[in-house]
Amino acid sequence: MSYILSEQDKSLLSAFYDGETTAAETAAVRSLLERSPEARAWLRDAGAVRAMSVEAASVSLAGVVLSGKLTGAAVAAAAAKQGALSGGGFFATARSPLGLTGAAAILLIGAIVAFQSFSADSPTSTPHEQLAVSTSQGIDGSLDAVNGVTTLSMDEASAVVPPITLHDLVSFAMEGSLPVNSERTQYVGMGDQGSREAESIRDIEARIATLDQPGIKALDSLAKLLRGSIVQVKENTCAVRSDLPELRMSVINKLERAQLTGKARTELVAARKEAEADRRQISTSLDDEIGKMKGQLLTAGREAYVLIETNKIDEKPTGDRNYVAVLNVVGPRNRIITVDPDQIRFSKPNPTIAVALASAETTGRSSLKKSDNGKAPSLNSSNGTESNEGARNESSAPADSYWMSITVNLFSGPGMRVIVSDDLDTTWESPSYILRSEPQIVEIYSQLNVMTDSLNMHLGRIITDKSKSPQIRAWRIISAQDAFGRRLQRMLDSLDKADADSTQTPSVQPPAGQPQDAKKNEDLLDKAADTSVPTDLESTCMPWEDCTGIG
């Protein structure tokens, strides 16, 4: 005769399962289990439920990465700000920040310290001081893409540069470097690093005393501007004001008013020349790119920012200068794909490959732009030629776009490396290639554009192919990305080999095992130019798939 478990029975069994019964209750449960198969089944099923719950919980967090590193310092900063919003002083010191990390990656400096100023009177507030108080949008600073323009929500906690001292200011003028942590163990720099003599800097600092009040106030204003010139977006990538070279010139101009003499003057003159050269080189490229990609820049108020990756490259760059790796411009960083009505989302973002700001002229640039009205985006080719593929794929391209962009790090002219970034972190690096001519940079740039457009199209097809399950589509996207990396390698190898053959000069050897056939690589590149499905991505087709027509 079957036994119907009462609520009390179940409660006892549940507590017994959790080890939370008293001695008397345990005895009662044992007796029940002996006489009731239903009780035994219930207990067994409770174990199964737990196992399934644990399994579900483990899957839910797989691949989830908090968009910003949550740190004590950041929490403290946000907590202090909340305190300020509820009536405390704006710079209320919650707790003294001890032991802030100074590790290789740039971390958000969330400690609230007294705001430092050169002068007692604050100058007219700059846009950076008209800081929007963020409402806990995330530790990495929120990026909101509105009508194609990505805006930064800036607040004091997102400033990476610590309060600028006089020494920092002079160093910035002389050497083009800005500290990005309060310990001053890390810097973002332009131009030649560490070449100025310490005495020169000290002399300049001493002569600052000869400046009149307006001069000091002007420096103060610049110090505040510099404070907000670099803001953190993510751990090792930060947004830099696009006119940073201009700011350096401004600082130099102001310092020249101090009527320097001797070595200090000589050094400052040299710094000016270098800054002017930098400005020509960096700003020209930035101006060009800003002109083409205004919609994709980061903005905070009136200021334009570009993303840079802080220099974590371990190998010593060739040449004398450690150039700023200026050049990441990325689009929307959020979850990359949303396809209605399946509501497919990938927790792992697409690889983003930041577009290079090469010093040479660039050829056309195509991009998928985010469509605001839910319709498929159109291709926008800045060289004036609209790809036919755009028209053909208008109905199948995803409504939400995602970015592919490539970082090209330039070292002192001839050296180049291609880095494929996955959500602003490096996922693939080529060896360094010695480029002997600027036209090579142009060539690489244009080929990279073509290849990324091709990959974008291919990924778009994968995403919208509803005949395939989400798992299959996710796998194929990852495979396509891997294949793209391999193709990049082959392309670079072919260029390097072609150049080496023409000049008969030793070049950097590509990694062993890579194909050396330039013609074969050219064929691959031709195929890349064709925005139909690249044949070398056939490996993405799983055995149980019907890949005809889609690939």
């Binding site: 959790d18 719950s53 004590g72 907590a79 032991g99 001053r184 163990t185």
Partner: protein, 225 residues
């Protein structure tokens, strides 16, 4: 550093300036590593004490220990990963702000879970609807290798996971949180009673009812297994 005549220079950091350290470092910060190792050995109450005294690394350690747990609970309850991040951050901010008031009568974990549960309740009250898990939770894109092998097993697992989440989402919010904290985070009945401010007897009966309901909903998967 001397003050400039006619100006005020407040430079708390000038004393730490080290000209020779200008070059971008790519190596580890040894002091940081040492501190973290030390803190890693401390129990929660000691870390709370450290954080109270201004050592933010102490709070870092607490965050590291409980961030994922909090995220799991919030995700399980609210079903939205994007919201979950914000809420977890808010939870830690709230915990940090109330550290001075934390007396240690309950464990730090209990306190954190209490704050998290209350935050989830607030969120649910605001939205007034339960969010169901979206289709994307069926798979993890980190499992690309597994997807290429034994794909059928992955699909079965995903279906089980989906079923569990659907079943959990149909429970009353408090009950699902209770079940999560018991099954996943293995809180004791006493701790659960503290978190939910109810008697232990109530915890017992609610858990039993929750398990009973889940058992009924997930029976097909148990029979298959």
């Amino acid at each position: 550093m001397s003050a400039i005549p006619g100006s005020t220079v407040i430079s708390g950091d000038a004393g730490t300036y080290r000209p020779e350290a200008r070059i971008t470092q790519t190596g580890p910060n040894k002091k940081y590593e040492t501190d973290r190792r030390r803190l890693n050995q401390l129990d929660d109450s000691s870390l709370v004490a450290e954080a109270r005294e201004g050592n933010l690394l102490g709070f870092d350690e607490l965050i590291d220990r409980y961030r994922d747990k909090a995220l799991r609970l919030v995700t399980s309850t609210l079903g939205s990963r994007e919201d979950a991040e914000d809420i977890v951050q808010e939870v830690f901010i709230k915990v940090y702000r109330s550290l001075d008031r934390f007396r240690g009568e309950a464990s730090f974990s209990t306190y954190l879970y209490t704050v998290t549960v209350n935050r989830c309740r607030d969120e649910l009250r605001k939205s007034k609807i339960r969010k169901f898990f979206s289709f994307d939770d069926w798979f993890s894109t980190n499992d690309a290798t597994e997807l290429s092998e034994g794909n059928g097993q992955m699909l079965e697992r995903n279906e089980r996971v989906h079923a569990v989440r659907q079943a959990m989402s149909r429970l009353p919010a408090q009950t699902s949180m209770l079940l999560h904290l018991r099954e996943i985070e293995e809180l004791s009945y006493k701790e659960l009673a503290d978190v939910f401010s109810v008697e232990i007897g109530t915890i017992k009966s609610r858990l039993a009812r929750a398990r009973d309901r889940l058992r009924e909903e997930l029976l097909p998967f148990m029979q298959e297994g």
